[in-house]
Subunit: 184 residues, 2 copies
C-alpha cells in the first residue's frame, strides 16, 4: 500500500508539474488531489494523480498527472443502466503521452509494436493501437474501449474532458486492480 507520507509527497510533486504547465490550483484542490495506485502498491510505476474540476450528471473535467514513465493501467468505461458509457477526450498539456487503444491488432503479439512497455503484469495490456500525444494534441476515446497510457521520461500533464465519470464502474483488464482501493 502507498502510505500517507508517499501520497502527500506525490501530491506536492504533481502540483509542481501542474504549476510548470501553467495550471493554477486552489489550496483545497491541491489538498484533495486524488493519488491512485490502483491497489498494486507501486505508485511510481502504476498510478495517476488527478484533480477533478467538475463532475456532475452532464459533464466532467479533470487534470491527470503522470510522473516520468508512470502508467495508467488498461481499462474501459462500459455502459450501465441508461448510461451509454463514458466518452473522454485527452489533451496533452505538457510532456508526452503514449496512449494505447483497442484496435484490429489486439490478437497479435501487439507488444512488439509498442514504443513503450507496460510497467508489470504485461499480460493484462492488450490494446494495440498506439497514439502519441505531445502538448496541444488530443484524442477522443469512445465508451467501452480498452485503453491504457504511459508518460514519457519527463512525465505528462493531461486535461481530460468527458461525459460524467463513474470511476467505480470502470473495468480493468487486470483482475488484481481495484480502482477504488486507497485512492486518497
Amino acid at each position: 500500500m502507498t502510505d500517507e507520507v508517499e501520497r502527500a509527497r506525490a501530491r506536492e510533486r504533481a502540483a509542481d508539474m501542474l504549476a510548470d504547465a501553467g495550471v493554477v490550483l486552489t489550496d483545497e484542490e491541491r489538498d484533495e488531489m486524488e493519488v491512485v495506485d490502483y491497489g498494486l502498491g507501486d505508485l511510481e510505476s502504476v498510478g495517476t494523480e488527478i484533480v477533478v474540476y467538475v463532475n456532475d450528471d452532464r459533464y466532467c473535467a479533470k487534470e491527470l498527472v503522470l510522473f516520468p514513465d508512470q502508467t495508467c493501467p488498461e481499462h474501459r468505461h462500459p455502459p450501465f443502466d441508461d448510461y451509454p458509457g463514458k466518452r473522454e477526450t485527452f489533451r496533452c498539456r505538457s510532456g508526452e503521452v503514449y496512449l494505447y487503444v483497442e484496435g484490429d491488432g489486439d490478437d497479435s503479439e501487439s507488444s512488439d509494436e509498442w514504443s513503450v512497455s507496460p510497467p508489470m503484469r504485461e499480460e493484462f495490456y492488450t490494446a494495440s493501437e498506439e497514439i502519441h500525444l505531445e502538448p496541444g494534441e488530443q484524442y477522443t476515446i469512445p465508451p467501452d474501449t480498452r485503453h491504457w497510457f504511459k508518460a514519457g521520461g519527463d512525465g505528462a500533464v493531461i486535461s481530460e474532458f468527458s461525459s460524467p465519470s463513474y470511476d467505480e464502474k470502470d473495468v480493468f483488464t487486470d483482475p488484481k486492480i481495484d480502482r477504488m482501493a486507497g485512492r486518497y
Copy 2:
C-alpha cells in the same frame, strides 16, 4: 464589421495570451480560432476569442480569451426540444474575470453594485450577482440563466467545460446582437 486584418491580429494576440497562460495550441487551432464581435463591430470592447477543443453530443470544452476590459455580452442558454439547455463551468486560468449572473437583485438599480461597467448599450445588462474569478477559481452557470462577463485590465484566459454548445440557440438580452454574424 470587424475586417479580416483585425481578426487575424486578434487571433495572434489571443494565441500569445494563451501561450503566456501555458496553453499550447496546434497551428490548425490557432488558424481556426473563432473571433466573435457579436455583430456590434467594436471587437475591442465587446468580443470573445474562442478555441473549441471538442464539442459533440455529450460534452464541450473550450478556451475563452478576453482582451483587457473586453466583455462577453449578456445572454442565456435556453432549453430546446429534448435538450435541457447548456450548463457551463468557467475556470479562470490567467488574469481576472468579473462574471455577472442572474440573481435576486436584477430589478433594482443593479449597476450601482457592479465593480466594472458594461461596455455600451448598458440597458441590455441586467444580471446583478457579481462573481470575481482569479486564476484557479471557477463557477458553474445553470442553463437558461442570464450572464455576462468582462476581463480585468490585463485580459483573461478562461477554460470552459460544459454540456454541448449550440451557439445558434443562445439568446442575447440586446436584440441587436447576432451571435453567428461574421464570427470568423
